[in-house]
């Protein structure tokens, strides 16, 4: 009997004519074993005279020798300064105030330096209008230690000295006299640079200055300029808003320079029963949409109609019914809010931008500030377009680029060839990027942490940029070059100082104080706006180009920038590449985001493979003649049907390390510098491997994130919306917080410090600044795309993002409660794994919860992890033997295992693999080795330092002194850290807030991290 049974190895065997089956019968292995690969060079092996015995002798000898040698320690040299600078004490950090102004990110910052090298960027609390220290700004310190930076100036592709370059430029400018030479720069927002450029133009009258913002806000600038006369952007203070209606403006992301989340979050925390109401109409699922109380997915062309209807002069006839309903409700709420309501829009259209300005002005919105507008964007798309076309047509003869990379970011592919044949090309660049590698002359510029400078980020809010380290390479900043080329004997530092004393500080103010603070609020009017011959706006082209509904089969594309890479300047920064996108949670990639409905129509799919990793289809994105090939597709819940999204800033190749050449370049689609385009998608063969680190997207009705509505929050008891979980003891239900429910005796923590961390889910916007701050503070390694794909990310702090499976999380819970019986649970739980078409979204930062009854501590066989009296769960890396029991027993999955040696390992060629990149490491925190577990330490090095400082001063610690990297980085105040034994502390108040709950409280771990229930303002009336 048994012999008749036939076992099939695969379905293929059923096919009698299969060639594979035949082949496999002959061979044990489907593919030849790559023995040569691991045995090394075959030829060498065969010619070698070493016998097996010899080999064993060598192995034995070298092992013995190595063992003997390892018994002696290495000789370590210590080299003190010859003359020590007064301000440096080895081992003590110095802080300098400075400002980042790279053309995309503008923010006043504080730079932490150790032994003269910057290691971390922090917020400058003195700056009231300082922009936001977002993830990119936090990571910018690593971009300075980039080994791919230009080491010195170049002339004709060869390394040159600065005097060579000066001579070459002078000759070239001499021969170019009378011809059209364009100085194409980023927005500097720098009063002194504006003056310098006009001096330079006075010397060379044939040069004209054009400002080019890689990611354009041109239409908003045009609208503002037409209405108020200044080329600037209106500023908004969302903390004053009661109703915020955004039409396609991702203001929590990078809309008009970003940095609005701090004010926004203030209005989002329910106070006296009130919080702001945020309604978002958008196509892509953005951070703003994810945080909104109500999000309506609409395509860009529909957004135009929505906006016109909202501002009172358009019909809603073309819109679907549900959108019309939302528009009407939003309109009535705006009316009710009066001056406390505000509309903003991100549509690349002057009329749209103007209508918004008009509306906000007409209601007298207290949110919008037009008297002190933002100066961080100056570019005029039509002028830039003019330059691009001029270069292509040959009317522009020379191009000097500063801080911009047009060969990479100009939409017209003909530009590259035309650029090569220009009479004069000079690129000021930190890297040999796409433009610099083609330029005749390259001036190597320093990083902002090595430069001097000044800024006016907002009218009347000045900032200074000061160097925090000597230039690492032979670089000279743009302004110093201009001074040299205009025969000015001063250096830029002297120039700024004199300029400030003559203008900004003229009304009273000390230079030293301003330099110390990094910011100066002045009443002086200092223009950063040059008189330029206006070429007119691009009105016609943009509005016609994209904001009309596409032809049949077409899709409306919204180009956006990602939290990680922004406009792509810092593409060579591994921290930013590895930062998961807050919405999709995919890192190391950009992709087309498509709605589930459209994906189904086109046969596009996302699926998980055996190890859980996400794969997706490829498409070609077509816009007229422009085709971008093999763009991966990610199905995005909440994406408006008929629309797609694609992030700019990826696909860079020049001066970018192989590992960091990720994604596709979307700039060719950035036609007319308009973020909205009509495209068609075409499915192509192949599957893309994503490095997406969140594999389960819904909460399945559990209360991982507790949510309630403002109405319930205001009217019902706390037990209703924030109940303490009950557990059963002796068949009696008792609250889990009761001492009877404990397995362990409680330890007395009332003496000394007891640290707690509070995370307010209402204030957290998911921006990711804390993740990068944690990276920098704790020497968290970068593991690369393939390890991320295996879910081996090392981030100590992650921000989980959950979608609702029904319309809202509340309905999810209801659905779960109503499941009964096996059939129903099988089908309905299955359904709940899939997010809704327009889901609610919630963010939750999760780090080690520092449980007082920690499950990890009890299972460690070597007691490598133990609890401190101050509430922190300690991890002694040198004691850890890597059994990983702790990670298995952790209900929060916050422990990270070092699968490999991530430092000084060529397999992980990121910042910790080169001397330059290692300069960013924090000397107070050990770099972990292979085979040990690591996790959030609640920044014990920072709390210990605070305590030590207090001991040295002989005073009790002030509450505000205790910080962790994440709490210090949080712009919105969502993360608060402190000592709950100090009853005056913020965190003590938070702990006793009725919104407080612990993550998975029913487990009984008694964490020292707690969350505040998220409250949504669902009030529709």
């Amino acid at each position: 009997m048994a012999s008749n049974k036939k076992y099939w190895k695969s379905v293929e065997e059923l096919n009698e004519n299969s060639s594979i089956v035949e082949t496999l019968k002959q061979n044990e292995f489907a593919e030849p074993i790559p023995t040569d690969e691991f045995l090394g060079n075959k030829e060498n092996l065969e010619t070698s005279s070493t016998t097996r015995r010899d080999f064993l002798k060598y192995v034995g000898f070298s092992t013995a020798a190595a063992t003997l040698a390892s018994c002696e320690g290495p000789v370590i040299k210590s080299i003190p300064y010859v003359v020590a600078p007064d301000e440096i004490i080895p081992g003590v950090a110095n802080y300098y105030a400075s400002t980042i102004a790279d053309g995309f990110d503008f923010a006043n910052v504080l730079v932490k330096t150790r032994e003269g090298r910057p290691i971390k960027i922090e917020r400058n609390d003195l700056a009231k209008h300082g922009g936001s220290v977002n993830a990119r700004v936090q990571a910018s310190v690593l971009s300075m230690y980039d080994k791919n930076r230009l080491q010195g100036p170049k002339v004709d592709g060869k390394d040159a000295s600065w005097s060579d370059l000066d001579a070459a430029v002078a000759t070239k400018l001499g021969t170019m006299a009378g011809q059209d030479v364009v100085l194409l720069t980023q927005t500097f927002a720098s009063p002194s640079t504006t003056k310098l450029i006009s001096d330079f133009k006075a010397k060379y009258p044939n040069i004209r200055h054009v400002v080019y913002d890689t990611v354009s806000s041109s239409e908003a600038l045009d609208a503002f300029q037409n209405k108020y006369g200044t080329r600037a952007l209106a500023d908004y203070d969302f903390s004053k808003a009661e109703v915020i209606v955004s039409v396609g403006a991702d203001f929590i992301g990078d809309w008009q320079g970003g940095g609005y989340e701090a004010g926004y979050a203030k209005g989002r925390i329910p106070k006296n029963g009130k919080m702001s109401r945020h309604i978002q109409f958008e196509a892509n699922m953005s951070l703003s949409g994810a945080n909104a109380d109500k999000r309506v997915p609409v395509t860009p062309s529909q957004q135009m109609a929505v906006l016109l209807a909202l501002t009172g002069n358009g019909s809603t006839s073309s819109l679907p019914e549900n959108v019309v309903d939302a528009v009407n409700k939003a309109k009535s709420q705006l009316q009710k809010a009066g001056s406390k309501g505000v509309i903003i829009t991100g549509l690349p259209n002057v009329a749209a931008q103007t209508s918004v300005l008009n509306y906000n002005q007409s209601v007298g919105s207290v949110v919008m500030d037009t008297t002190k507008p933002r100066m961080t964007s100056m570019g005029n798309a039509s002028e830039v377009l003019n330059v691009m076309n001029g270069v292509i047509s040959g009317s522009v003869k020379g191009l000097i680029t500063v801080g911009v990379n047009p060969v990479y970011s100009f939409p017209n592919p003909q530009f590259t060839e035309a650029y090569k044949s220009l009479g004069m090309t000079l690129a000021f660049s930190m890297k040999e990027d796409e433009t610099a590698s083609l330029a005749q002359m390259v001036a190597a510029t320093p990083h902002y942490l090595e430069s001097w400078g000044d800024t006016q980020l907002k009218k009347g809010s000045f900032g200074l940029i000061q160097p925090t380290i000597r230039p690492l390479f032979n670089t000279r900043q743009f302004q110093d070059c201009l001074l040299k080329w205009t025969e000015n004997s001063k250096n830029y530092y002297e120039y700024i100082k004199e300029f400030w004393q003559g203008t900004i500080l003229a009304g009273g103010g000390s230079w030293n104080q301003a330099l110390h603070d990094g910011v100066f609020e002045g009443a002086m009017e200092v223009s950063t706006d040059e008189e330029t011959t206006s070429v007119g706006t691009l009105e016609a082209s943009t509005s016609n180009g994209a904001l009309v509904a596409p032809v049949q089969g077409g899709l409306e594309l919204t180009l956006y920038t990602k939290t990680g890479l922004g406009d792509g300047q810092q593409a060579n920064n591994p921290w930013l590449q590895e930062l998961p996108d807050p919405i999709t949670r995919a890192s190391w990639d950009n992709y087309v985001t498509v709605s589930a409905a459209d994906a189904a129509e086109m046969g596009l799919e996302n699926f998980n493979v055996a190890n859980g990793a996400l794969n997706g289809s490829y498409v070609n994105v077509k816009m007229g003649d422009v085709v971008i090939e093999k763009v991966p597709v990610l199905i995005q819940p909440g994406q408006a049907k008929g629309s797609v999204g694609l992030a700019l800033g990826y696909g860079r190749k020049a001066a970018i390390q192989q590992e960091m050449q990720t994604g596709v370049n979307a700039y060719p689609l950035y036609n007319n510098f308009s973020s909205v385009q009509n495209v068609t998608l075409e499915k192509v063969a192949g599957t893309h491997e994503f490095a997406c680190i969140q594999l389960h997207n819904t909460m399945m009705g559990r209360d991982i994130i507790r949510e309630t509505t403002l109405e319930i929050f205001n009217t019902k008891d706390v037990e209703h919306w924030n109940p303490v979980p009950m557990v059963s003891k002796d068949h009696q239900e008792i609250p889990v917080t009761s001492p009877d429910a404990d397995l362990w005796d409680e330890f007395d923590r009332s003496i000394g410090h007891h640290f707690n961390l509070s995370v307010d889910l209402n204030a957290c916007t998911g921006c990711g600044a804390c993740v990068i701050a944690c990276h920098a503070e704790n020497n968290v390694p970068v593991v690369g795309k393939s390890e991320m794909r295996r879910s081996r990310d090392m981030h100590w702090l992650r921000i989980d993002r959950y979608y609702s499976s029904e319309e809202s999380f509340g309905e999810d819970t209801e659905k779960k409660e109503n499941i009964s019986g096996l059939g129903s649970s099988l089908s309905e739980f299955g359904e709940m794994e899939h997010p809704a078409a327009n889901p609610q979204v919630a963010f939750q930062p999760v780090m080690c919860q520092h449980c007082n009854h920690a499950p990890c501590e009890t299972v460690c066989p070597v007691a490598a992890t133990s609890h401190g009296r101050q509430g922190q769960n300690h991890m002694a890396y040198n004691r850890c033997v890597g059994t990983r029991y702790c990670a298995n027993n952790c209900p929060y999955k916050v422990r990270r295992f070092n699968w490999f040696l991530y430092a000084e390992n060529d397999e992980f060629d990121y910042n910790m693999n080169n001397d330059l990149g290692r300069m960013v490491l924090n000397p107070d925190v050990v770099v972990r080795s292979r085979g040990v577990m690591e996790k959030c330490s609640m920044c014990i090095q920072m709390t210990q330092k605070t305590i030590l400082d207090a001991k040295k001063e002989g005073k009790p610690v002030k509450d505000s002194a205790f910080k962790t990297a994440c709490s210090a980085a949080c712009d919105t105040g969502a993360i608060q850290f402190g000592d709950i034994n100090d009853h005056d502390s913020v965190v003590y108040k938070e702990k006793n807030d009725k919104r407080m709950y612990h993550l998975l409280e029913a487990v009984g771990t008694k964490p020292n991290v707690f969350y505040q229930v998220k409250v949504r303002n669902t009030n529709e009336a």
């Binding site: 320690g73 002694a876 300069m919 490491l921 050990v926 030590l948």
Partner: protein, 457 residues
């Protein structure tokens, strides 16, 4: 492995120097031997020198050179040396050079008056020293100045190195020689005795044989080693003891791997803590100032050395000879190494700007995964430096005093009370905790000084 990866890790291995004094000691022996014969020659010269001194005292600006020496050291030595240019000119023979006592008096009391009055000699000197103003000494009487000048007029004494070997130490090395001779003689005597015994025994046997006395042989017994092997119990017990012993020593050996107690590497500049901290009583914190404020005690930068060594270009003669004798070190040459490193030109008394940072060999190497903060121990706890670093003020060559093992740290934390006096930070917590533990004074351990995360992060 911490961020110190960027430090200049040198990959060669530590070399301990157990016989570091041996060559020097040998050379002293030799020197002592040679010099014993040369004392008399120098004695004559010394007599001649003293005659010269007597002559100087009767010349112009006559005074008491002994008092002058004291005054010179108190007032002048900061800027002047007798035979060497420093901040000011070398002063030996200054009387002979100018041969104008009144002018010298005037200059010393207030040189600026002279310069302003347009005195040519004064202006010339003033300009030669780049307009460096000499401190005015109106407090010195004419007699004082004469005494000083008398001191400066003394002829230069001959080098005194020659005197050294006549001291007791020379005798000490002699005794070393005699000891070995005595030992050798003793050994010889013993050898003779052994030979004699053997011969006597042999002779006696022969006599016995001749007299027919039979010498009874003992009964043949199993040799002891065979008996041992036959007794299996004994073998087993011995084996167990041997294994235990081996394990004991292996454990002991393994536990000292990586413990570098007593590590005293040869440094690029022979720096004597004995002279600086011991003889001259310089506070540790003067040079290691960051120990109070930072986690690192800090190796002083060379500008700190130059605060003193700008004026101290050579050590006292006694110190120099002691150094050569005891440690085989030429201290003056070591100071020259400092000058070369910091780029100090003695001739022009100025910095050349050419520096060559000193690569000290680090002695105390904590592993990177252990965090240690000096300021916590020095400033907050008030621990004496010597507690961990040993009697540094006696160390000619710095060495690692403590084992720097975790057990050593922990023991101290268990035994040491925290210093709560006048520290507002400890007030509340100490009161509450001491009540909880029922003690008057809390130890560092009771404050949480044994928690892993306090040192490992």
């Amino acid at each position: 492995m911490r961020a110190k990866l960027v430090d200049n890790n040198i990959t060669n291995r530590m070399k301990k120097v157990p016989y570091r004094n041996l060559p020097s000691k040998l050379s002293f022996l030799l020197l002592a031997f040679l010099l014993t014969f040369s004392v008399t020659i120098f004695a004559q010269e010394e007599a001649a020198a003293s005659e010269d001194t007597a002559a100087a005292q009767t010349g112009p600006c006559a005074g008491d050179p002994a008092n002058g020496e004291a005054l010179f050291k108190a007032n002048c030595a900061a800027c002047h040396k007798l035979d060497k240019k420093m901040t000011g000119p070398a002063l030996r023979g200054v009387v002979a050079k100018y041969n104008d006592c009144d002018w010298l008096h005037e200059w010393i009391k207030n040189s600026q008056d002279l310069v302003k009055s347009g005195d040519q000699r004064a202006v010339k000197i003033f300009e030669e020293y780049n307009g460096a103003v000499m401190t005015a000494f109106p407090q010195l009487s004419d007699q004082d100045i004469d005494d000083i000048l008398a001191y400066t007029s003394q002829p230069k004494p001959e080098p005194v190195v020659a005197e050294v070997p006549t001291g007791t130490d020379g005798g000490g090395s002699d005794s070393g020689v005699t000891n070995s001779i005595i030992l050798a003689a003793l050994a010889l005597v013993f050898l003779l005795l052994v030979i004699m015994l053997f011969l006597v025994n042999k002779t006696l046997r022969r006599i016995a044989e001749a007299n027919g006395v039979t010498y009874e042989e003992g009964e043949k017994r199993t040799p002891i080693w065979k008996a041992f092997i036959q007794n299996q119990f004994l073998v087993l017990v011995t084996c167990i003891f041997l294994l235990l012993g081996a394990a004991y020593f292996a454990y002991g050996w393994m536990m000292q791997v990586g413990v570098d107690q007593g590590y005293a590497p040869v440094q690029p500049i022979h720096y004597s803590h004995r002279i600086h901290a011991g003889v001259n009583q310089i506070d540790c914190n003067y040079c290691h100032s960051s120990a109070r404020r930072s986690k690192h005690s800090g190796i002083p930068s060379l500008n700190v050395c130059m605060n003193c060594h700008k004026t101290i270009s050579e050590v006292a003669e006694g110190t120099q000879s002691e150094g050569q004798k005891e440690y085989g070190v030429d201290y003056n040459a070591e100071i020259k190494k400092l000058y070369a490193a910091v780029g100090w030109d003695e001739g022009s008394q100025s910095y050349t700007g050419e520096t060559k940072p000193v690569e000290w060999v680090r002695i105390h190497n904590l592993p990177d995964f252990a965090y240690f903060n000096h300021s916590q121990h020095v400033t907050v706890a008030g621990v004496e430096c010597q507690k961990c670093h040993g009697p540094v003020e006696e160390y000619e060559i710095m060495e690692q005093f403590a084992p720097l093992t975790m057990g050593w740290c922990i023991n101290c934390h268990r035994e040491t009370n925290i210093q709560v006096e006048d520290n507002g930070y400890y007030e509340k917590i100490h009161e509450e905790l001491s009540k909880k533990y029922g003690v008057d004074k809390l130890t560092a351990a009771q404050m949480g000084g044994l928690e892993c995360g306090k040192c490992h992060y």
